[in-house]
Symmetry: C2
Subunit: 295 residues, 2 copies
Amino acid sequence: MVQPTVHPADRLLGAIEELGTPICVGIDPVLERLPSVVRAEHWEPVVAIERFCAGVLQAVAGVAPCVKFQSACFERYGSAGVASLERLVSRADALGLIVILDAKRGDIGVSAEHYAKAAFGHRPGPDWLTVNSYLGEDGLRPFLVDGRGAFALVRTSNPGGDALQTLALADGRAVSDAVADMVAGVGREWIGKSGYSSLGAVVGATKAADAARLRLRMPQQVFLVPGYGAQGAGPADVLACFNADGRGAIVTASRSVIFAFEMDDAAWINAVRTAAARFREEIAGAMRGAGVGAR
Amino acid sequence: MVQPTVHPADRLLGAIEELGTPICVGIDPVLERLPSVVRAEHWEPVVAIERFCAGVLQAVAGVAPCVKFQSACFERYGSAGVASLERLVSRADALGLIVILDAKRGDIGVSAEHYAKAAFGHRPGPDWLTVNSYLGEDGLRPFLVDGRGAFALVRTSNPGGDALQTLALADGRAVSDAVADMVAGVGREWIGKSGYSSLGAVVGATKAADAARLRLRMPQQVFLVPGYGAQGAGPADVLACFNADGRGAIVTASRSVIFAFEMDDAAWINAVRTAAARFREEIAGAMRGAGVGAR
């Protein structure tokens, strides 16, 4: 069982070490893509989605060290969806998976403390939460509590994110560089034995050029790297997110793993497990090929 | 009953016109500050909070045109808190109040669409949602649907927000100016008969100097102005957020209204109503004094 006093970065890096490859399976369920057998058995959308996600957790446990739940996919079903998410987080925890809740919360003061309570107020609960950086340090600190961690949005992988985050500041930095420097500064106060902080950073995998620069600005941040697979980034694109010792990043794939089956495949759980293993091999192979993490 | 085809800015400005003053009561309940009588009757925290909020809605209906629920205060109680919030939003709608859900959501693509469904997928539901701007236009557009509106974070009232949002860009603008220009540009596509957009802006009342500049950059945005009362801004500070005709902003006070009673006051609902009326008179008086909205 989890000891709340373990530093979240140490725990995450330990889990990665144990399974050998820094991958995370993103759980972004949508009703339209569930296997026919799940939809046939569960008419109620939110029940079908919970059943599906339980199968995905079973498939990826032991293959990936970590899962990331997209909160929006559950919140769209209101309080019933949130209750499903709570049960699934417990189940993931019981399966020994590190859990990231991708909810991109962002507020200040007592409201941020409420959000921290919402995410981290109970065990079992998520180990990490994604948070938005636009409100500054006050929007980050409340989440750095009690053995839990936060991934702050630094560089996102969408065109609209580019427009704002690449703007040049008068001092020569990009806006995302300034955010990175803030994250590195706040995170420095929360370093684990592994040398990494409980304040990590979200850095989109489709921005390899930026990633290399941000890696230098945030040497102690674990990078959560979305955008692999269905979002278009390949293995080579994500390598810039790692430190030379092969640590410091975890690569997320969602749709390319969790929907890797034919709709009417009754053995869809096996297909998801196979896709997760393939994802693991792709990342491991790319890292070996580039000499990243060769120790 | 609400017609979903009414433009949300037209509806909001109509409700303000009807009650005479552009105020919004922020509903940020915390257990520790509930009236003794409510706590005594309802042992379960989330039940006590729901009962309290129902009393606040009863107190402010007919005094203020609009209420803003702080989602974090409910989310901290998990799915049970979210269910409470759903019931309270319905109740506010039935009382004829315009409802803003202050959840500061921010995501892109299908995840943003899920969040839009979560907020706006049902009637009754909130009329407006607060959203984070850091992900750019892709993080705003999915919320501009079907008679509902969004307030995008442009300038927040906290020290950490200052540090990032006032940074100077190479082109001479501040970061928050660039966000304002983006919001004005996207919002231009969604203008109602009133001349205002369904994409509004959050502009903290403690930043009067910024507010005047941002008002010029975003002539068609309704400003949601937090920070009045307990957060330290006075009536004069908020005037810069209005256009010369007295429209274009709505001022929010939370704690100074909803907790305006002695803990053991059994008539606390009356005290809240009195505080809401006082808030209305302060804002109306300041606007008259400055000649804002004299037509």
